[in-house]
Symmetry: C2
Amino acid sequence: MSHPDLMADPDLRPFGPLLHVAWADGELKDEELARLREVALATPWLSTEARERLAVWLDPAAPPSASDLRTLLAGLRQAAGTLPELKRRDLVGLGAALAAEGASGEVGDALGALSDALGVDGRGALERLLPTRPPEPAAPAPRFDPDALAALFDAPYGAVRARARGFLADPAHRLDPGASTAAQRERVRALLLELADAGFGRLAYPGVTGEEGDDLGAFMAAFETLGQGELSLLVKFGVQFGLFGGSLFFLGTERHHALLPQVATGELLGCFAMSELGHGSNVMALETTATFDPETDELVIHTPSESARKEWIGNAALHGRLATVFAQLEVGGEAHGVHAVLVPIRDEAGAPMPGVRIGDCGEKLGLHGVDNGRLWFDRVRVPRANLLDRFARITEEGTYESPIASPTKRFFTMLGTLVAGRICVASGAASASQVGLAVAVRYAFARRQFGAEEGPELRLIDYPLHRRRLMPLLAQSVAARAAVARVRARYLEEHDAEDTRELEALAAGVKVFATDHATRALQAARESCGGQGYLAENRIGPLKSDTDVFTTFEGDNAVLLQLVGKALLLDFRKAFFDDRVFGVLRFLGAKASRAARGSAVRNRPDTRAELRDPETWRQLFADRRDELVEGVAMRIRKRLGEMPAEEAFLAVQTHLVAAARAHVEAEVLEAFLALVDAAGGAEREALERQCGLWTLWRLEEDAGWLLENGFLTGAGARALRDEVDALAAECADDAMGLLHALRIPDACLGAPIAFGDPAER
Amino acid sequence: MSHPDLMADPDLRPFGPLLHVAWADGELKDEELARLREVALATPWLSTEARERLAVWLDPAAPPSASDLRTLLAGLRQAAGTLPELKRRDLVGLGAALAAEGASGEVGDALGALSDALGVDGRGALERLLPTRPPEPAAPAPRFDPDALAALFDAPYGAVRARARGFLADPAHRLDPGASTAAQRERVRALLLELADAGFGRLAYPGVTGEEGDDLGAFMAAFETLGQGELSLLVKFGVQFGLFGGSLFFLGTERHHALLPQVATGELLGCFAMSELGHGSNVMALETTATFDPETDELVIHTPSESARKEWIGNAALHGRLATVFAQLEVGGEAHGVHAVLVPIRDEAGAPMPGVRIGDCGEKLGLHGVDNGRLWFDRVRVPRANLLDRFARITEEGTYESPIASPTKRFFTMLGTLVAGRICVASGAASASQVGLAVAVRYAFARRQFGAEEGPELRLIDYPLHRRRLMPLLAQSVAARAAVARVRARYLEEHDAEDTRELEALAAGVKVFATDHATRALQAARESCGGQGYLAENRIGPLKSDTDVFTTFEGDNAVLLQLVGKALLLDFRKAFFDDRVFGVLRFLGAKASRAARGSAVRNRPDTRAELRDPETWRQLFADRRDELVEGVAMRIRKRLGEMPAEEAFLAVQTHLVAAARAHVEAEVLEAFLALVDAAGGAEREALERQCGLWTLWRLEEDAGWLLENGFLTGAGARALRDEVDALAAECADDAMGLLHALRIPDACLGAPIAFGDPAER
Ligand SMILES: Cc1cc2nc3c(=O)[nH]c(=O)nc-3n(C[C@H](O)[C@H](O)[C@H](O)COP(=O)(O)OP(=O)(O)OC[C@H]3O[C@@H](n4cnc5c(N)ncnc54)[C@H](O)[C@@H]3O)c2cc1C
Ligand SMILES: Cc1cc2nc3c(=O)[nH]c(=O)nc-3n(C[C@H](O)[C@H](O)[C@H](O)COP(=O)(O)OP(=O)(O)OC[C@H]3O[C@@H](n4cnc5c(N)ncnc54)[C@H](O)[C@@H]3O)c2cc1C
């Protein structure tokens, strides 16, 4: 009996992929076939005739001929060719996508059952069917060992990173950008629970959940690695285990820690409810109140005005049951400033608790899988024990006690919990930027457009302009990664120390650096892929939309830079305020001597050798920072006689931020050079090239200021430009090896264009 | 009988808004009430008990008490407060959004019927219920007449712009960013037909559709104005009337023009199918073939390879029936280069035509309402008459004829049709950037965060940093608008001229300028609104995602800049190639004399008066351009001895692009100054402030180059920075007046944050 052409038959088309695999593998045992028949013919939505036609393909006695299979394969490839890549990731998905419109849901279910019955590994099989990973785009053989570099990047958390990559390697852990917001939220919740099951959550609570291997550093490294995957999942993961769980862990005491096992398993999902509609950055001015009622020994949580509603709270719109609510604590009529209180917001069934009103923030630019919501509290009562009371407590007698006398200091100690979160956001931004750039760079090695009259067109990577667009940003991704590693290491050492202000400023600076970088890098990646960059299946678009808010949440970048700037001025202010006259003199003296040193000794680099010398980089970055900080200080001083301090600060705001940026870049350079130093041989050289490209490119973008202030000559500026061009070309040769060292799982690259130009297939 | 609390009753909640309006208006006649009862009680999904409770509210004998109504209103406002703004736009939508999950579809239908029965104007009524437009954010009274400025901006197309704004003013013409891609595509199609009905389409075909008032300039002005609305609609509008219709109009002859009436009404939807998977920028290398078959007097359209498939084609995935296909024409075995041929791709019923395969590009970063698709042709035959034959034809005898001898020239003449499209894209980008900045600037006048210890917090606009983020970009939006107006006017005058190369280069430059601007401005707008900027209801997010591709389509910006750069070099090349020795000498002579003039006479501005003088701006911009162009020319010359011309061009690519950018900015400045000159009195002063801010900010960003090349002194660079700060403050005082002059309809601002800080309500 001749086999009907499955692909020509709209009813049977969805079975095409599975049946091809089943027969082409040739390993079908009779009982498997029988089982397949049973399941296939049970699908309720097939007409009797369609079932009869299908039965022909399931007859053990009459296997399809080689030519039947060829026809099927050709039809399959053609049909699949009109589908977006994402629908071609597994046999079931592909089959469902081939179904008539509207039917794909039930078809998918039926095919799922079939595929289980068949026991085929959908993905591997599909790869043979529709090869999607041609060889790497051709690139020069790396001049270093990518695996050695990878080991360096991974250290000291290789094991947990490998586990996280295992999770990411499964394409089923990618989201469908076409799915509805509701579907994405549910999917992300399910994936979060998978991560919890795999033990990633409890890493964050060393010594509490009592499991071996808990390790905050490992948690942070896992977070960074997961940043190569879906960012909705990353953010929900951060809200649940980092912010919510972290608030219990860092601000709470034993009775709160008792909840952490449930938090770690995802049994208890929660919120970190700090921001309010009226106050996102200026959280010291939050309006929500927590008033102690000694009569009932309870705290009364209340939203006194519309601007006091909790806003943008992750996990609030749908899944959170408990919230860490930041509120102005009042005990015995006395205000004690912002404290954190646990407030149940939903019951087991998911209904809002009495007195709690919950809203949905609605559609966002990205992060569709995160359920951000609003919360209002109408005099909600919780036991006194719900106060997270590590840094301040209410005694049984109803009096307020805190080991930290200054309310401001107390507040900032509590905010210290955000430091880990900021480092994590920075790491996520760095990872996401790597993925987007990886897609764009790989495409640049494959895509050809324009070129010589004869012969093949040029690859995009052959264009100096294109290298300029991508290579400095790829180097900056390495810079961000190095900066994150350095501040993470410091955090793990120092976060329990007495004075963490420097650490906090550093974390803030790295957060600004990495997230601003991600915005810029992903924009460049999008544009440098042309039309392909705009298709969601090529990943850069969703990455862009998802990361866009990283510059805003966990501390708005413009606000954080001012925090960094103010920390820089501390020394100066101390000298100035403590000891008015001598301080200024001392300060001016220091400046004068630096200026003298500057004009006499200052190296104004203008040769290749000088421009490629790390000592030059260090010197320029440090001098620039110092000069800018001094400039701000002098400007403030000049104004202090004429206006109040706040006004003086306001007047120099843009200068303060410029100084902060220069400081952050100087710190990043130190981190980058530390990474270079940690490497040996050819890897060291490769990293030094990256570091040089990044540094010179930063200097080039700031050439105006450097020239104006005598750090650079005109000839030096020209030389700088040439070196950036030259290093961009050298780094292009290293690029594929470098990307290899970042070990981004194929499933995360995902984009068809990451595996060659589809036009060449 | 006491009235049940509608809002406390999940079943009846959806009826709350309508019933409040009905009773509160107090004008319900008995028969209306009876009709309402009838419709309401017929809703199939209410239980008997629920209907009984509802009936209480519909009893003419027992109207609700004032207190019943107050309770209802309070509940309504509270419930509505948890919903995103978009769901609060009309009574039916609001009611549907209040329904239990999953039910909102059928509830919406039922409420629609109810609302019709009631005959209430949903929107006006809702505004009273939930006031959404508080007074404008407080700002200084403008020092100029915004209406006079508006008239200037609108001229000479005030009437058609007003009509377009009438369309935009209807909130029902906004899309729901939460709707599915499929729903958005259908909605955009419906809106497109509304625009066609309103006569906007036929404007594009003066003298052909035969209606009075057809006017290409008016079409382009309408396009610009519609750029303040939904961009999916704008792009579909551009594809249908501009690209597709424009190809018939400009490349076709009478028999093709005969189709234009149907195109103008939207009866015949079509595609402009130029780009292929393999060639988006290098369209001269398209692979699709159109082979003349003299036997049948037909053209055979064929896709010879996968890279030849038409890709990203607007209107192709769903709605287009006819496509203008660009293909390599072969007649009698001879290749004649790319030509345009009309190919039917779908029949009346919407099924693909035989031999045509159609795919869907799938999800994109934005423009969800545009159905971009892929097309493959399998030896599809169309009559010879389908060749768009204004510039080349096949005679009845089957021979090829063209009035333009050079194939390259012929090709570029055909591409000339893209010039209007590029100007339109630029105008759309300018308009979209205005809307996004308007939202951010208005919010900056309302939002308060941080500030003095006592008294209210400062408004964002009070921060120098915030003004720096927004004011130069707002000025740049005006610059883009002025540049568009100027190139449009030139286009209308010159597009039929013999040599349009200069016009083409200018259009390309303005397209690059305006679209790069939109990307940057919308990013800044998003970030400067903090968390609010990330919510879709605040519009900036969707605008960002939609405009992101403007830098890519209708000519990729990096490619267009090279076109601009090469046009700039034409003069030099002519001199050089025509007359090798003398040319160079002449050129060097010119350079030497300019250099002499430069060092002797060159004004290196460093005072406020100089920096605020338009003559200084003009001089600096022109000198910078000339110097850069000369630099590129010299670099090429140096290399020409050593390598082929293409290689030499490749080696100087980044310099070429820098020269092109400088040229484009010089042209934009001319346009801006022309706008200033067209204004009088206080408006002129206001525009001059904007122009000054824009110019000095551009110079500041390029200070490195200016210092390096002796156009600026260190003191000048410092003065520049101070002037930018000062002008940003002055322009902030003008900002609300300026926005008023842009006449953006409220419905387009749409965003709640554009009407004050929600926290202040
Ligand atoms: C998707 C998303 C998820 C979030 N998740 C959470 C969460 O789970 N829990 C939580 O508590 N919060 C969360 N947030 C809130 C987030 O932390 C805040 O949005 C953020 O802190 C910024 O506050 P804001 O939005 O009020 O902006 P504002 O503070 O109002 O700032 C608005 C703008 O003004 C600028 N600005 C402010 N002050 C100054 C100044 N002094 N000088 C110059 N410029 C200034 C800022 O740079 C910014 O551009 C989330 C937000 C989003 C968007
Ligand atoms: C949403 C959307 C709608 C569209 N609608 C239509 C339509 O209706 N009809 C139609 O015909 N087309 C349409 N297009 C296609 C669009 O015009 C092309 O995407 C565009 O022309 C760019 O071509 P490409 O994507 O092939 O990019 P490429 O040409 O491959 O360019 C890729 C990258 O390489 C860079 N590059 C290329 N050449 C050079 C060089 N010489 N030097 C340096 N860098 C270079 C570019 O800057 C770009 O960043 C649409 C595209 C999109 C995304």
